[in-house]
Amino acid sequence: MAKTILIVEDDEFFRGLITKKLSGEGFSVLSAPDGEKGIEKIREESPDLVLLDLLLPNVDGFGVLSKMKENPATNKIPVIILSNLGQAEDIEKATKLGANDFLVKAQFTAEEIIEKIKKILA
């Protein structure tokens, strides 16, 4: 069965691109445009992996991360942070909160993102 990936990202264009790329790779893709809906989707759909932006409306990425890690039903879902923030403090904070990997958007191509996802889900 196809693995489900949830992408929580407010930039509609970027969300669409990643969705297309992931679908092309055979993943089943869900998306959420803000932190609040992200938390909802994580709880309801229990995806196999979450791609999470940090700067989000309502609840930011750090908030989503800590919320899902609090919940025993969702705290084992791997998370890849996909953000424009690339400061050491942000990476450290996200890692402490339980993120599996941290990718700076402008430095990684869609292929590299897919590679990371496949590695984590393998």
């Binding site: 790329k21 958007k105 869609a110």
Partner: protein, 420 residues
Amino acid sequence: MDKKLLVFINCSLALLLLFEPFMFIKFGAFVAYLISLFCLLTFIYEGKEIMKESEIARKKAKVLAEELEKSDEERIKLKDEKYKALIVMDTFEDGVIVLDKNDKVIFINSKAENLLEIQNEDPLKKTLAKIETFSKSKAIIQALLPNLKQNFSARINAKKDLPLDIFVSLIKFRESDKGSLIILREALGNQTDSSKTQLISLVSHQLKSPLASIKTALKMLLAGDFGALNKDQKEVLEKTYIKNDSLIILVNDLLNAGRVEDGQIISTKSPTNFEALVDSAVGAYKDAIAEKKIKFKFKKPEEKIPAINIDAEKIKIVIQNFIDNAIKYSAVGGEVTASLGKVDGNLRFKVKDSGIGIPLNERGKMFSEFFRGTNAIKTGKEGSGFGLFVSKKIIEGHKGKIGFDSKENQGSVFYFDLPF
């Protein structure tokens, strides 16, 4: 005695004298007449004197009244002046405090109250030591207390992001009545700089997001995710991709330059495997290296380099700047060699290229902000003039050394040394 009664007695006696038939009464009446006449004359004279005096008094009173009236005006004027002065002092951008000879506050303006954070307490007639007990900004008072009896100035950090210049000047109100004037001035220069940095930071973040989307979109178009492309379409997209990448680099440079000016360039240091750091920095350039057919080599050290305590993220920026410049200013098919080793107990990383080199007369400016070599500009390659400026700040932030050696049209070697 009443003047009218005296006149009446006097007149009666005069009539008695004229018409009285008996001589002996006449004599007595005559004496009485003389006495009453004397009294009357005296009375009239005194009255005149009194009138004169009262006239003087009245005149005096008038002058006095005029004087008084004048001084009233003066007083109002003075009061008005004082009032104006107080308003001026209170509107002052700087905090102003005046102390008397016993170091008690005799004047304080709103700004000073705000800076000392004592809005709910009355500081008047209290010493600074006393005010310290209820001030929420004790750092200012603590800096002032030992320096009240001398002309003094210093810059202190009252709070984060609020550098404050404090000045104490001695003032003499009268002989033996001396006090101190204290000025608290927010270091505005830094504030402006900081907001400029904030603006750069904000704009850069806002730019980074769409640039990242464009990069992803272009990459996917090029990979054929939206269908096959013909040769021309592919070529245009490849050039667009490269232009977009140089914009991303520019925005990152701007962000870093902003941080340099903010003094926040170095954050947390941690033990780092330098070889792995170079590998990951080079990784970002594999497309550019392939495209320009650059012969790239990374000469790894013979002896193992121990982990070094650095801010890896920032050092990576320097490594990438070196590699980026080496590739950018080399001809197609040129050679770029990175190498890592130990020199005089320091770690040395260098990047050698076979590029355009640096003109002799421009070598002193290579690490200046916005500077680009004249020959570099002529190549038509994009560059912010920030890369080496930021690199120098980063290396210096690690107490290291940055430098280069170059021959125009033959190539350059850029290096940095970092202490273990």
